[in-house]
Every structure is written in C-alpha cells, then in structure tokens.
C-alpha cells in the first residue's frame, strides 16, 4: 500500500493542539504515522510548501443516498441535462455522472472528494428501505459513510413510549440499528409521519401537541429517544429535524425542543444535534414579514454545552427539497405549484420531494439566507457549528466553498448583499456583524465538530498518529493569504483541492479525480439487557406479519450485503 510523506505543509489540527504550524505528516497502511516511520524508498513525497494541510472534511447532514434521493433524481431529469453537472468517464480512473442539485452517486462522491471532504453521513433513511440506502452508499466513490435512521414515527417506538417502557425503546433501537446497519437515531418533525398517514396533517405539529392517532407528543418521543441514545451509549446524540420546520414563528418550538432534552447528556457531553437549524429559526407570523430568530437561539445555544447544529445555509439557485417531513413538503408544493413526489413507508415514516429555487429578490429567501449565517456567526464556539446546506434542500453541497467564504470574509457577505432584497436586509442583524471565521474555525466547523458529533473523532477530524489518513491539502497559505479581502481565491482553492488523500490513497490532484476507491460504511452495534431484548423481539415478531408486508427474517440486512461494513461498538 502507498506510503506518503507530506512535507512542509502548514497544518491546523486543533484536536492535537496544532493551531497553525509547519508539520510533516507521514502516511502508511492507510493511517497517519510519525514521519520517521515512512520508508522513503517506497514513499511518494508531496511538497506542501505554502499550502494548508488539514484533516478531510466531514459532512454531518446530507441527503445523498436512499429512496427519496432517487425520487429526486427521477423527478428532475432536467437537472441532469445541465452541462455543469456532467462528469465524463475516464475508463480506469473515474465513472461518469450527472446532476447539480440531485447528482448521481458517482458525481456525489467525486465532488465531495474534490473539495477535500472524505466522510458523509446520509441524513435520513427509512428502516424498511435502508437496504436501498446502503446500495447507493456502496456505489458512492471515495468517501466513508454512515446512515441516520428515521425512528420517530415508528409504530413499535410509539407503542413502547405509550407504554412508558423505556427499556423496550432501548432494546428496539439497539436491535434496529444493527438490523439495518445504521449509525445514529434520526427524528424528523417527530410524529408528523404518523399524522400524515391519517391524512390529517395539514396543520403542522408542535412539540407539546398530541400526535393524531396516538396518545404521545413529539416531546415524549424526543425524551425517549434521547434517553435511549444515552443509555445505549450511541456515539451520536439524537439528530433532530425539529417540529414546525419552515413555519414562521417556529424558533419558539426549536427552543422548546432543545429544552426538552438539554439535560439528557451522552458520554461525550452532547444532548442533541439540530439539523439545518436555519429552517427552524423563524420569527414572525407570515412569510412576507418573517424575521430572524437567530439571536434568541444563539443566546440559548451559547449557554448550553451539549447542543450542536448544522447550518442548512441557503444559496440562491434552483435546487430540490427532500425530507421525511411529508406535511411540510406538501405545503411547499402548494407554494411552488410545479412538481411533488411523496412516499409513505408502512409503519415507519414518510417523505416529500419538491423542487424549489431560492431567489435574491424574494424577501423570505433573503431572510432565510441571513439566518443561517447569523446563527453561525452569533454562536461563539465554532465547534458547535457544522457547515451544511442540508443538501440539497437549501442548495447543493458543492456550494460549501462559497459558504465558507461568507463566514470568513465580511466583504464576501457584503458583495452578496449588494444583490439582495433590501427590505429583507434591513430586518437582518447580519449586515452589522463583523466577525470573520479564522482558519482554525473553518477547520473546527468542517472537520472537528462533525467528527465529534458523529463520535468518530478517534480516527476522523484530526491528523494525529493513528487517525485515518484522510487529508486535504489546499492551495492557500494562511500566513500570507487573508481571505477577508480576496475571498474568491478561497472559494477556488477549496472547490478544487490541491490534494485529497483518502485512507492513504491520493484520489484528487489539482482539483481532478485521479483514482476511484470506495470507503467504509460505519454502523453501530450496541448491547442491551438480553432478557428485555428477547421480550422485544418476541413482541416484534408477533406483530410483524400483520403490520408489514415482508417477513421478519427478510427485514434484517446482513453484514455481507454491504461492501465495506465497519461496526462501531460503543464502550
């Protein structure tokens, strides 16, 4: 296997206390080793003088694989006709691909790698369909991956919560994470999928309202699942798309969501990760007049240590929204009046896919744009913040370099604001915010924070000995380059990494894919009381035949069905 020696690079590696200095990095057998351990007779030497060397990027929330992503692809052939998404095959080096907002799996892997990202977490997968999610992830080149499993509206979970049987909830989650080879527990507008099945979900569901057809509230679900994650020592805290997403005034529900679980803290001190928080930070009572709830939310998050979030940052371009929040997507369809696809999953969850274009002259879109940035800039600790666009909901992930520029350069923000709806700008705090992210904060928010949240910081998000050799080298030198003024250079440098190294293999050079390899799929294997597990399994089997349409045995995904499974057993 390749050995590498990366010399003279300017390294930022906060987890190892390296805050910007020249450090040589050694790579051997896919791991980072002391530079002296590298055999120079066989190693490739990369001269990274004048370049920034950081761990590979990690995306904590992105919709890249699974049934609703492919629904999005099928819904938007016009996205694939566009030349900008075209990836031409080079036999032996790379496969072909299409798509900008809903790319094919090949394009996804390559474009993440090209930016220096080496791990992605699929944001939401329904258990019955997770085999499909794994198929797509297996075909996604280069990056390592994991699956967030949709569990909030699952009939078994709802029953056990109604019975107030926390240990049964725990056992069920331990079982289903392993049975579907998934990594973490995902909630999307908790309870709304059940309401949607009853056809009554025209009214959005708030945290303390009883879910139609049940006797539980979304808060009950939040608490039960947070407890389970803590009891089972699942590395990732509950990953929550909060109730009332997209509705003006929802920042209050978001605060209530946080407060419901803020003191249920896992062994890493984390209680909740809020997905694409921008969509849940609205103040006001109508789209035409809504304003930013970022200040209130940032204030709360600044006082709590266990709360993290990803931005869900808007970019102004045509994109596709897709979530398990079927009722919200239905509302959006009535606003856009163009295309809508929905998919219910028996006993488990639902989904909706609606194309949408964010526009610079539309008041609401500009407020949304401002909110994402305000949240990232008003929260003091950048390790609570992860960059995301909730790809593709607020925009394609390929726009991350632009978002990084907005965070690191006030001038970049001002240049964008010149083109935006002025009435909206007047209502935002953003124009007055001077803060610019430092290079270290850039590394925190794109590498360290997501690695810690996911719980893989042992081997991702840092460049210390023993870490996976996932490294990004960018053609910028923080000692001499100030992105504050010339931010366009930053965008280009991140968009086209000088080198991306994945598991010790050079996969990107000068912004071009030079090798196709496939990464691992992380999943969680956790243990619980065997007696309770047995009880729960008997209960599941007794109802499976009536509730489901496949057999219990066929439901489980076997390890050999995944190309490169990697089990994490929490200690």
């Amino acid at each position: 296997m390749t050995q590498l020696l990366i010399k003279n690079g300017f390294v930022i590696d906060p987890l190892n206390n390296i805050h910007g200095e020249v450090v040589d990095i050694g790579v051997k057998d896919g791991k980072i080793v002391p530079p002296d351990d590298v055999d120079l007779r066989y190693a490739k030497v990369i001269d990274a003088s004048g370049k920034l060397v950081v761990p590979g990027g990690v995306d904590v929330h992105t919709h890249v694989a699974g049934p609703k992503v492919s629904v999005g692809r099928l819904l938007m052939p016009n996205d694939h006709y566009k030349k900008g998404g075209r990836v031409v095959a080079i036999p032996g080096i790379k496969r072909s691909g299409t798509g900008i907002a809903v790319p094919s799996v090949t394009t996804i892997g390559y474009k993440y790698a090209r930016m220096g990202w080496t791990m992605v977490m699929e944001a939401a997968s329904p258990p019955l369909y997770t085999r499909h999610t794994h198929h797509e992830l297996d075909d996604t080149p280069i990056v390592d991956k994991g699956v967030n499993l949709l569990l909030d509206s699952n009939w078994f979970i709802l029953e056990y919560i109604e019975q107030k049987a926390q240990e049964r909830v725990n056992a069920f989650i331990a079982w289903i994470l392993e049975a579907t080879k998934s990594y973490a527990v995902k909630l999307v507008d908790p309870g709304s999928a059940e309401a949607w099945s009853l056809g009554v979900a025209t009214k959005p569901l708030d945290v303390d309202e009883v879910i139609p057809g049940t006797s539980v509230t979304p808060k009950d679900i939040l608490v039960a699942l947070a407890n389970a994650v803590r009891d089972l020592k699942i590395p990732h805290p509950i990953h929550v798309h909060a109730n009332m997403l997209g509705i003006p005034g929802n920042y209050v529900s978001t605060i209530n969501t946080i407060k419901a679980v803020a003191d249920i803290v896992n062994q890493r001190g984390l209680s909740i990760h809020l997905a694409h928080i921008q969509f849940n930070a609205y103040k006001g009572d109508s789209y035409a007049t809504m304003t930013s709830g970022a200040e209130e939310l940032a204030k709360l998050i600044n006082t709590l240590t266990g709360v993290t979030f990803d931005m869900g940052q808007v970019v102004f371009m045509p994109t596709v929204t897709m979530t398990a929040d079927a009722p919200w997507e239905y509302v959006l369809y009535h606003i856009t009046k163009w295309k809508w696809a929905a998919g219910d999953v028996e006993n488990e969850t639902a989904s909706g896919v609606v194309p949408y274009t964010f526009r610079r002259h539309i008041y609401t879109n500009v407020i949304q744009w401002g909110i994402g940035l305000e949240l990232a800039l008003l929260v003091k600790d950048a390790s609570k913040v992860v960059i995301s666009t909730d790809h593709p909901n607020a925009g394609p992930f390929t726009r991350y370099p632009q978002i990084i520029a907005w965070l690191m350069s006030k001038k970049a923000r001002e240049n964008e604001m010149k083109k935006l709806n002025k009435r909206a700008l007047k209502r935002l705090a953003l124009p007055a915010i001077d803060r610019e992210y430092t290079f270290e904060e850039f590394v925190l928010t794109t590498r360290v924070a997501p690695a810690k949240i996911i719980g893989v910081e042992k081997f991702k998000g840092h460049l210390g000995v023993g870490a996976d050799a996932d490294i990004a080298i960018y053609d910028i030198d923080p000692r001499t380059y100030d992105p504050s003024r010339d931010y366009k250079k930053l965008v280009k440098a991140i968009k086209y990494a000088a080198y991306t190294i994945k598991g010790g293999e050079i996969v990107v050079k000068d912004g071009k894919i030079v090798k196709t390899i496939y990464g691992r799929t992380f999943y969680t294997k956790t243990r619980t009381d065997p007696k309770i597990m047995h009880e729960v399994l008997e209960d599941i089997k007794s109802k499976f035949n009536e509730w489901y349409t496949i057999t219990f045995n066929n439901y489980t995904i076997l390890e050999q069905e995944l190309h490169k499974p990697y089990a994490i057993t929490p200690v």
Partner: protein, 289 residues
C-alpha cells in the same frame, strides 16, 4: 451566400452527431480547420473530414454561410443545434433534435424529420417537406413548464406526430398534413395551425395561445368549454376562413385569459352537440393574443 456541401463518405449505420456543424462554427475558418471539426459516429470520435466529403466555400460571416447535407438518413442527430444565422439544407431525412435551441437562420429538410424538431427554438425558420415526428417545437422531458419554443416559425408540409408545440411560449407552427394527439399541450403563447386532421385532445392544459384545426379532431378534452362559433380566424396575421367552433381552456389550469381552440365546423359534425350551449351564432373576427 457561400455554400459548403457535405456528402457522407460511407453509409452511416449508427447515429452520427453533427451539432458543431453550423454556420456559426464554420464561417471565418479555413477549409482545413473546418475538416477538423469534431463529429461523432456512435461512440467513435471523428472529424468532419473523416465522415464527409467536403466541397464548396466557407463564408466570412455566419449569415452568409449555407451548408448542404447530401444523401442524409434518419441517423444524423442534432443538425442545426443552436445555430443563429445562415442556412442549412438537408437533402434527405434528418434525425432527432434537428434545429434544437435554434437562435436564428434557416433550416430546410427536404425529407422527413425526427422527433424534437425545433425544440426550444428561439428564432429562425424551419421547413420540412416530408413528415415530422413528435414534440416539434417542444421541450425535453422534465424541463420547466412553458420552456418550449419561444419564437420563430416551423412549417411542416407532411404530417406531424404527438404533442407538437407542447409547452410553447411563442412563435408559430404550421402543419399542412395531419397531427398526432395533444398538440399545444401546456401551451402558454404562440400559434399552431393544423390543416389536416388531429388525432385528439388539442391544447390540454393550455394557458394561452391559439390552435386552429381545419380537419377532423377525434375528440376535445372535457376541460375545454365551448364559447361560440366564429366565422374566421387569424394565423400569423393571415385570415383563415371558417366557420370555427371556438373552445376556451384549459379550465383545469385556472387562468384569467384562456387559450383558444378553433376547430373547423365543416369537418367536425360530431361536435355539433356543442352548439346547444350557445344562443346564437356570432359573426366576428377572433382577436389575436
């Protein structure tokens, strides 16, 4: 006009794509450079000189360039794609996507044309002496509503296939023969005239524009409401004698100013049923949108 003549060197047995062989790309080049222009024969990359015998002259400006494709087959795709000036003549059939996204100039097809003729056309003139297939002047599947043809004129002397002028936002299409089902589906603006028969359901989901049919229409979709009998109609400013049944629609699409269907009274006795819905036969010109 300087004329360049292209004659296939051998019979094409697989699709040949010639999207770069337009006056815009040829005018002002040397003959040598022209011979090197990239064309595709199936999955093989070729040059123009490899596939065609090239004779004639290269013009200085695109507007002065005429290109003649001799001995064509239905396998040549994307002829005249995005051309903005000059003239292309095909002395035979043309394959799919002829005149795709055309921005100006003239395209003449002496034989038949494949599907998506003149799709997304902005300006220019296309004339087909034989038949055309489906989706003339339309858009590709899944693209935005009303992103079909937005200007220019297409004349088909023979028959045409389904959904001609679908998603049209301007321009005009004339079919002298018969047309397939659903002409003008999702039409927003523009004019279509079919001199022959129409296989059915013209204008469904129209939100504007006008379709005139002189022959027999198998059936009208129930979402069109009968409005009046008109003595005459206008197509591209010319008077067309009627009388015509005027239908307005599409009711399902909730529009303020509806699209218009003008269907020949004489050739559609089966539509007489609708006459009961009006009190008297009016005698007016139809206003042009």
């Amino acid at each position: 006009m300087a004329t360049l003549i292209l004659k296939p060197k051998h019979e094409f047995t697989v699709p040949v794509e010639v999207e770069k062989i337009i006056p815009d790309n040829i005018a002002g080049k040397s003959l040598d450079e022209v011979l090197k222009i990239r064309v595709y024969e199936g999955n093989r990359r070729r040059t123009l000189g490899e596939l065609f015998e090239v004779s004639g002259e290269v013009a200085e400006k695109p507007a002065e360039q005429e290109i003649i494709f001799q001995r064509n087959t239905c396998r040549i795709r994307r002829i005249g794609e995005e051309m903005s000036a000059g003239k292309i003549i095909i002395e035979g059939d043309a394959g799919p996507l002829a005149g795709f996204k055309m921005k100006g100039g003239t395209l003449i097809i002496k034989g038949n044309a494949g599907p998506w003729l003149g799709a997304k056309m902005k300006k220019g003139f296309i004339e087909v002496f034989g038949d055309a297939e489906g989706f003339v002047g339309s858009k590709l599947r899944g693209e935005e509503l009303y992103s079909g043809m937005s200007g220019g004129m297409i004349v088909i002397h023979g028959n045409a296939g389904r959904e001609i002028g679908a998603h049209m936002a301007g321009g005009a299409i004339l079919v002298e023969g018969n047309a397939g089902i659903l002409p003008g589906m999702h039409m927003a603006k523009g004019e279509i005239m079919i001199k022959g028969n129409c296989a059915g359901w013209p204008g469904t989901h129209m939100i504007g524009g006008k379709i005139i049919i002189l022959g027999k229409v198998e059936s009208i979709a129930p979402s069109f409401y009968f409005e009046a009998v008109k003595k005459k109609a206008k197509f591209v400013k010319e008077k067309i004698p009627g009388p015509f049944y005027l239908f307005l629609g599409d009711v399902l699409d909730n529009i303020a100013i509806p699209g218009k269907l003008l269907i020949s009274v004489k050739n559609n006795p089966h539509l007489k049923y609708y006459e009961q819905f009006v009190e008297e036969v009016k005698d007016e010109w139809v206003e042009i949108v």
